[in-house]
Symmetry: C2
Subunit: 357 residues, 2 copies
């Protein structure tokens, strides 16, 4: 199962021409919803959880976005396959560790996904490339409206959408943007930026949501507050804050290049050289090196490789991706060798293409 995912790239990896897309990697909105006529998942029987899955599958199939979507019962998926979905940002780490009936729907282009029986009955998600919060909002709002016509959502006129965790009550919405901020990290300014945004209700996380560290200088910013503000207000505020961080990052990158061009190109060149020739690459090191390379490409300090190759590699070198591609479980040491092999092969392929007349 899931093999087809290894042969195409998710739509959110197809970079828009938007110049901000070199810093804002992707935008995501998720909505938490529950059915009014059943207890919250933790209080449901297995029977009831299966009923929820059936009802949501049926409702989703009537929507344009999730009609004929790929559907998976959690119990059908191996542990590598579950991890693969986390690595592709389609489900949460919490979802795959459940031992209760749960399921997920995924649109073919991986833009829309719907977890059933995670913390809430429904967790809808829309992922867009670059800085496209508004676009993601338009899609998820439409999907949500269509589902609501089929499913009796738990809704209070006073509190809005009711959710298991009070931090989601109201809009049930979490809007987030993945930012690539190597210059802010390099110049030791990331701490003050992050503590400033924290004060205005914006949470900062690593690449894989809550509890994950910021690897490769990727940071996920999202709204903390779901109650007392409209969805548009939340999107607007996040957009505004992120725009100013992007500005800051861009200026630092430029001044790094103009103040010390050799030093900048040295860092980028060494990253490329190591990726191109290493035989053993641990995940953290590879991610950091690809991150440095990504910055170099944005600064036009390096042209041997393009952004989309790097973005694809960042996805493909993850443990479950490596193992799914090899068709077997790999030890940590074997993964480090396989990771290096894939990176070498892709970079070589791109060099070969470049050198063709």
């Amino acid at each position: 199962m899931l093999e087809h995912m290894l042969h195409h790239k998710p739509l959110w990896l197809v970079l828009p021409s938007d110049p901000d897309a070199s810093i804002a990697v992707s935008s995501r909105i998720r909505l938490a919803r529950n059915l009014a006529d059943l207890p919250f998942p933790q209080r449901c029987s297995s029977e009831q959880l299966r009923t929820i899955i059936d009802r949501v599958f049926a409702a989703a199939d009537t929507t344009p976005f999730l009609h004929n979507a790929d559907s998976y019962l959690l119990e059908e998926l191996s542990s590598v396959e579950r991890q693969l979905l986390v690595e592709r940002h389609l489900v949460s780490p919490e979802f795959i560790s459940s031992d209760q009936p749960a399921a997920v729907l995924i649109s073919r282009d991986e833009t829309c996904s719907l977890m059933i029986n995670e913390e809430d009955h429904l967790r809808l998600q829309v992922l867009s490339p670059g800085m496209q919060l508004n676009e993601a909002w338009t899609v998820i709002d439409q999907l949500d409206t269509e589902l609501e016509q089929m499913l009796p959502y738990a809704y209070s006129t006073r509190y809005g959408y009711l959710t298991v965790c009070p931090t989601n009550v109201g809009t049930g919405m979490r809007a987030s943007i993945m930012l690539h901020l190597p210059a802010l990290v390099h110049e030791h300014k990331i701490g003050s930026v992050m503590s400033a945004v924290g004060k205005i209700g914006i949470a900062v996380r690593g690449m894989y949501g809550e509890h994950s560290a910021a690897r490769g200088n990727f940071f996920q910013l999202s709204n903390q507050i779901t109650l007392g503000r409209s969805e548009q207000e939340i999107v607007h505020q996040l957009h505004h804050v992120v725009s100013s961080i992007i500005d800051h990052e861009r200026k630092l990158r430029q001044s790094f290049l103009s103040a010390a061009p050799h030093k900048a190109r040295n860092a980028v060149g060494r990253a490329y050289g190591t990726l191109k020739y290493a035989e053993i690459l641990k995940s953290d090191e590879a991610t950091d090196l690809l991150s440095t390379l990504l910055m170099g490409i944005d600064l036009n300090a390096f042209s041997t490789v393009d952004r989309s190759t790097i973005s694809e590699l960042l996805l493909d070198i993850q443990p479950a991706h490596l193992q799914k591609r090899c068709g077997k479980d790999l030890s940590s040491e074997e993964r480090d060798v396989e990771r290096a092999r894939i990176i070498r092969a892709r970079l070589q392929k791109q060099e070969d293409q470049e050198s063709k007349p």
Copy 2:
């Protein structure tokens, strides 16, 4: 002056097919001699020192090895040019810091050189590629015999050749071999090997003689004792000791490769990648990386580059070589950039040649 040296490589860098040559980089013999009819250099007047230079020049010109050799008065050479000669192992660091009349003769292929008014009146040197102590001895013995016919050497039937420093009295000979011992260093066995050879009267130094550190895992082994043994005995003993070290090094290299092939190729590949793409390379780092690459080539763990390119680079990335080639003084930072540029260009050139049909 000396520009021509940048355009050809010294004969001792032309590697023999001898399999030991991958570990024993070069062999050298030098003889200390003094004229019987003049005081030792430290006690000579400038006038007398100039007389010595003239007499040795005239005598050397009658020998086949130094006929028409390049001759330089120390005072004619800029500080970069002096350093260039040290980097090429043609003169000693002590020689170039003298402010007294001194001179050097160098055969065109850089095999023979003759310092005049270093510590002794004459310091003859023959440099051979690989493990060729006997060959070097044959040449220097012949050169010495020819010079002796023209110059009255200070010689005592009891002590042998008389020299300024008592540690040179007797044969006046120092035989040395430059060894490349990365595996012994990597496996932390170099200390015990070196202390063992020290006990049998063999000195260990770095790349540039006394007081220089062992950079890039290159070690120079030479006899300490000059008195009470014949030249052949000295050469024989050094040859014997070095052969067993070469054996040890070779076995460790092989077992490193067979025990951990990925790890070995990883080290070599990363070294190549960094050399190929770095924009800033300090001398020590570059030497260490080239040293790792050299070991990889010997183990057939890396084929993108050949030994002779590495040997030439080890010579050409030295500070005076860089500055002489640029035709101007360079700051330490400028040298690091220029060093990286030269290495990138050479490695790229070799890749281009390899990829030609």
